[in-house]
C-alpha cells in the first residue's frame, strides 16, 4: 500500500510537470520586449480575422493590414484621394474606362517587382466569385481588368460609376505579391501577407499579437520606429490597464465613461477623432403606425439628442444633422430635429395617437459603445410623449439576421443600428440604406423606406461624373430623406483612443484606423 501511494504521488507529480513542460515548450518563443524604445505597442480590441485582402472584414484587420499591404489610392483624413501604388489616373469621356499609372521602382517584401500585371492579378482575385470576398461588391461595377503595358492598368466598367476611386481606396483592396497568390485555389488563403508597405510581417502569435518590422526598402519615407506590435486585448478595462502600465503605448476604443479618469493621468493623452459611423433608430416604414410621416417626425422631436451626447457620451459624440456624417462627399446639414416634446405630442395627436402608442425597439448590446444605454434613454424620452417602447435585445449575430428579414417576415417596429460610410462618399451611405432596390433581403434598407424621387436621385448620382452636379443631387436627396424621417436620427459616433504622452505622430484616421508609419518617441 505504501508503494502504491508513493507510486500515485510520483505519478501525479510526473504528469503535472510533464504537462507544464510540454505546454511551456509549445507556447514559448515569443521574445520578451527588447529595447522599449525600439518597439511601439498598440493594443486593439479584436484580432484581425485575416490579413488576406479577400478575407478581411473588420476595422482591426484594416488597421494592422495597411501597415503591410498598400492599395492603389490612399484616402487622407479629410477624405481627399492621394496616389499610393497608382501615381495618376484618368477616365475616358463617359467614365467607363479608367486608366491607372502604376508606381515604378516599387518591390514587394519578397523582392517581386510591382507592375500592372501584379495589380491586375490582385484585383481579379478580389472580384472572382469563386473566391467570394465579402467586399467584392466594392468593385461590382468593374467588368474587365487589363494590364495594357508594364505600368498601365485599365478598368472597364459596365456603366459609369462615380464613386469608383473612393471604392478603390478601401483598406481591403490591398495589393500583395503575385508570387503569394499564384497557384492559390479560389477557396484558399494565406496567413502572412507580402505587400509593399512600410512594415513587413514578422510574426503572428494567434490570439495574442502581431509583430511587424520596418521595411528598410520602403519606396516612401522609411518609418522611424523599427518594430510595431499590435496586441489583442478584448477586455476594455484590461486595455486601459495595459496603457497605464506602459505595456501598450496606445490603445483604441476607450470607453466614454473612462475618459475623465484616464485623461487625468499626465502621462496619457486622450485623442478624440470623428468617425464615419452614424447611429440611428430605423422605423419599419411598412408597419402601422410608422407608415404615417407625422408619427415618424413626432418621434424625432421626442428625442433629446444633445442630452444623449452630453450625458451618455460625455460629449464624445456629435448630434446627427444628416443621414451621413459631415466628412462624407454630398453631405449637407439639414438637422437636427429640434427637441420639442410638445410638438411631438401635437404631431402624434394629429395622427390619431393623442393617447400615445405602443411599439417595440430592438437594439444590439455591446456592438456599439453604450448601445443598450442609448436604447434605454430613447425609451425613457419616448415615454415622455406617451410612446410606450418595449426594448428587446439580441446577441449581435442573431440581431443582424432578425433585422434582415424580407418585408412580409420583418417582425420589428424599429431597430437601433449604425452604419459607417467607409468610402466617404454618399453613395455608400445612402444608396445601401435608403434606396428601395436595397430592401431586405437584397440590401441594407432594413426599414423598407421608399421615395421615388430619392431613388431617382441616388441612381443618377451613381453615374453622374460632374462632382458639382453629384453633390447637388445628394443634397436634394438628403433633404427629402430628412423630411420623410425614415429613422430617428441620433448621433455620429466618435472614436476615442489614448496614447502615452511620449509618443507622437500616430494617425487617428476617421475610418477607424490607427496608423504608426509617421510615429516617433519623444523624451
Amino acid at each position: 500500500m505504501q508503494n502504491k501511494k508513493l507510486l500515485l504521488i510520483v505519478g501525479i507529480a510526473v504528469v503535472v510537470i510533464a504537462v507544464a513542460v510540454v505546454a511551456w515548450w509549445l507556447i514559448a518563443g515569443r521574445e520578451p520586449p527588447v529595447e522599449i524604445r525600439d518597439t511601439l505597442t498598440i493594443a486593439i480590441g479584436a484580432e484581425p480575422e485575416s490579413l488576406d485582402p479577400v478575407r478581411m472584414t473588420s476595422a482591426p484587420a484594416a488597421t494592422v493590414g495597411e501597415h503591410v499591404v498598400e492599395r492603389l489610392i490612399y484616402m487622407e483624413e479629410d477624405g481627399s484621394l492621394e496616389p499610393m501604388l497608382a501615381t495618376s489616373w484618368s477616365a475616358n469621356e463617359d467614365s467607363t474606362v479608367w486608366t491607372f499609372q502604376i508606381r515604378e521602382g516599387v518591390t514587394f517584401h519578397d523582392g517581386e517587382p510591382l507592375n500592372a500585371e501584379a495589380v491586375r492579378k490582385n484585383l481579379a482575385r478580389f472580384v472572382d466569385p469563386d473566391v467570394g470576398a465579402a467586399y467584392a461588391f466594392l468593385l461590382g461595377s468593374v467588368q474587365e481588368i487589363e494590364a495594357t503595358d508594364e505600368y498601365t492598368l485599365e478598368l472597364r466598367l459596365a456603366q459609369p460609376f462615380a464613386p469608383i476611386l473612393s471604392h478603390l481606396s478601401h483598406s481591403f483592396i490591398g495589393i500583395v505579391s503575385p508570387r503569394q497568390i499564384e497557384g492559390l485555389d479560389p477557396g484558399d488563403t494565406f496567413e502572412n501577407p507580402v505587400g509593399t508597405g512600410p512594415y513587413v510581417m514578422d510574426r503572428w502569435s494567434r490570439g495574442d499579437s502581431i509583430r511587424l518590422t520596418v521595411n528598410e526598402e520602403y519606396w516612401g519615407d522609411t518609418p522611424e520606429i523599427p518594430v510595431l506590435v499590435f496586441n489583442f486585448i478584448p477586455e476594455e478595462s484590461a486595455r486601459i490597464v495595459a496603457l497605464e502600465t506602459g505595456e501598450a503605448d496606445a490603445i483604441m476604443a476607450v470607453p466614454p465613461q473612462d475618459v475623465v479618469r484616464l485623461g487625468a493621468d499626465p502621462d496619457i493623452d486622450i485623442v478624440f477623432q470623428t468617425s464615419v459611423r452614424t447611429i440611428y433608430v430605423g422605423f419599419n416604414n411598412l408597419r402601422e403606425p410608422f407608415t404615417d410621416v407625422r408619427v415618424r417626425r413626432a418621434l424625432n422631436h421626442a428625442i433629446d439628442k444633445q442630452a444623449i451626447v452630453d450625458s451618455i457620451f460625455e460629449g464624445s459624440a456629435f448630434v446627427a444633422d444628416a443621414p451621413v456624417v459631415d466628412a462624407v462627399f454630398g453631405h449637407t446639414s439639414v438637422g437636427p430635429y429640434e427637441y420639442d416634446p410638445d410638438r411631438a405630442r401635437e404631431l402624434l395627436a394629429e395622427a390619431g395617437f393623442a393617447d400615445g402608442l405602443e411599439m417595440t425597439l430592438h437594439h444590439p448590446t455591446g456592438r456599439y459603445p453604450l448601445d443598450a444605454t442609448v436604447a434605454a434613454a430613447v425609451q425613457s424620452m419616448l415615454a415622455e410623449v406617451g410612446v410606450d417602447a418595449r426594448l428587446e435585445t439580441r446577441e449581435w449575430s442573431a440581431y443582424l439576421q432578425f433585422t434582415a428579414q424580407p418585408p412580409d417576415q420583418a417582425e420589428y417596429d424599429s431597430y437601433l443600428l449604425g452604419w459607417g460610410t467607409v468610402t466617404l462618399d454618399s453613395d455608400y451611405g445612402l444608396y445601401a440604406l435608403l434606396h428601395s432596390r436595397q430592401w431586405n433581403p437584397d440590401g441594407n434598407n432594413r426599414g423598407f423606406y421608399k421615395n421615388e424621387r430619392v431613388d431617382e436621385l441616388l441612381d443618377a448620382a451613381r453615374v453622374e461624373t460632374n462632382p458639382d452636379s453629384r453633390r447637388e443631387m445628394y443634397h436634394e436627396a438628403i433633404e427629402l430623406i430628412w423630411d420623410d424621417a425614415p429613422w430617428i436620427f441620433l448621433y455620429n459616433a466618435a472614436q476615442i483612443n489614448a496614447v502615452r504622452a511620449n509618443v507622437e505622430g500616430l494617425i487617428h484616421h476617421p475610418l477607424e484606423n490607427l496608423s504608426a508609419w509617421d510615429a516617433h518617441f519623444v523624451d
Binding site: T57, P234, R394, L400
Partner: protein, 311 residues
C-alpha cells in the same frame, strides 16, 4: 484493472458522439449565420450564399453531420469559417496555453486549499480556522472577473510587479493562474476541512490516538489518506472545469486559450471551431473522470475494479 480501463475508454466513444450531435444541432439552431457574423451590416446576399455553399451549410443537417463524421475519422475537423484555417491548427495553438494555465492554477489551488483545509480541521474553531474559512467563502463567492481586475489593479497598476496582460514569460502566468486558482483553492479548502473533520471523528482515529500515537502521525498518516478521497474527486472535476471554463480569466488577461476561442467562435457562428473545441473538452472531461476513478483504487483499498460487474 486494465480491462476496466479499456472498457471505460470504449465508453468515451458514445459520449463524444452524443456530444457532437448535440453541439452540431444546437449551434445551427441558434439564429444568426457565419456570413453575417463576419461581414456585419455589409453582408451582401451573394456573400451569405457563397459562405453557405462553400461550407456546405445549404445541405440537409444529416448530410452535413455525415460529412463531418467522415472527416473526423480521418483526423480532419474542417476549416474555420471565420479565417479559413484548419480547426486542428486553431485548437493546437491554443490548447497548450489553456492546459498550462489550468495546470498551474490547479497546483496552486491544491497546495493552498488542501493545506488550509487540514490546518483548519485540526485546529477547529481556532482563529486560523475561522479566518481561512472566511477567506474561502469570499474566494468561492467572488466573481472571477472582479478578482482578476483587483489583482491587475494591485500588482500591475499600483505595484508594477507583474504584467497585466499577455503571454510568453513566467511573469505573465502569475496573475491569471492566481485568479483561476483562487476559486478552486477556496472550494478545496472547504472540502478538505469537512472531509478531514469527518474522518477525525471515526473510531479508528480514536484507536490510533489511544494507542498513544502522536497527533502528527494520526493526522498525516491515518486520517489524511481517507480524507483525500473526496478531494481527489473535486480535483478532477475542477481540472475539467478549469480547462473549459477559463473564459473570463482568459478574456481579462488577454490569455489566448481555448476558452476564449470557444466563446469567440460561438459569437461568430464558426460552427467547425465550436464543434472541435467542445468535443475536445468533452473527451478530456471523460478522460479526467477515468483517471479520478483509477486514483480511487490507489487511495481506497475498498475500491476494486474488475472486468465483471460487482464480483
Amino acid at each position: 484493472m486494465y480491462q476496466y480501463i479499456v472498457r471505460r475508454l470504449m465508453l468515451t466513444i458514445p459520449v463524444v458522439i452524443g456530444v457532437s450531435i448535440i453541439v452540431f444541432a444546437i449551434i445551427r439552431m441558434i439564429p444568426g449565420d457565419p456570413a453575417r457574423a463576419m461581414a456585419g451590416v455589409n453582408a451582401t446576399p451573394e456573400f451569405i450564399e457563397q459562405v453557405r455553399v462553400r461550407h456546405a451549410l445549404d445541405q440537409p443537417l444529416h448530410v452535413q453531420y455525415g460529412r463531418f463524421m467522415v472527416n473526423l475519422l480521418q483526423g480532419d475537423l474542417g476549416r474555420s469559417i471565420f479565417n479559413g484555417r484548419p480547426v486542428t491548427t486553431e485548437i493546437g495553438e491554443r490548447f497548450p496555453r489553456t492546459l498550462l494555465l489550468a495546470t498551474v492554477a490547479l497546483v496552486i489551488a491544491t497546495i493552498i486549499g488542501v493545506s488550509a483545509g487540514i490546518v483548519s480541521a485540526t485546529r477547529r474553531n481556532s482563529l486560523f480556522d475561522n479566518a481561512s474559512m472566511l477567506v474561502a467563502l469570499v474566494g468561492v463567492a467572488a466573481p472571477v472577473f472582479w478578482m482578476a481586475l483587483m489583482l491587475q489593479l494591485l500588482f500591475a497598476v499600483q505595484l508594477r510587479w507583474l504584467p497585466a496582460t499577455g503571454i510568453g514569460q513566467v511573469r505573465h502566468l502569475v496573475l491569471p493562474s492566481l485568479t483561476l486558482g483562487t476559486a478552486s483553492a477556496a472550494l478545496m479548502a472547504r472540502i478538505t476541512r469537512s472531509s478531514m473533520l469527518d474522518v477525525l471523528r471515526q473510531d479508528y482515529i480514536t484507536t490510533a490516538r489511544s494507542k498513544g500515537l502522536g497527533e502528527r502521525i494520526v493526522v498525516y498518516k491515518h486520517a489524511l489518506k481517507n480524507a483525500l478521497i473526496p478531494v481527489v474527486t473535486v480535483l478532477g472535476l475542477q481540472f475539467g472545469i478549469l480547462l473549459g471554463g477559463a473564459v473570463l480569466t482568459e478574456t481579462v488577461f488577454a490569455w489566448p486559450g481555448v476558452g476564449r476561442l470557444l466563446v469567440d467562435s460561438i459569437l461568430r457562428r464558426d460552427y467547425p471551431v465550436v464543434q472541435g473545441t467542445v468535443m475536445l473538452l468533452a473527451f478530456l472531461f471523460v478522460i479526467i473522470n477515468l483517471v479520478v476513478d483509477i486514483a480511487y483504487a490507489f487511495l481506497d483499498p475498498r475500491v476494486h475494479y474488475r472486468s465483471e460487474s460487482g464480483e
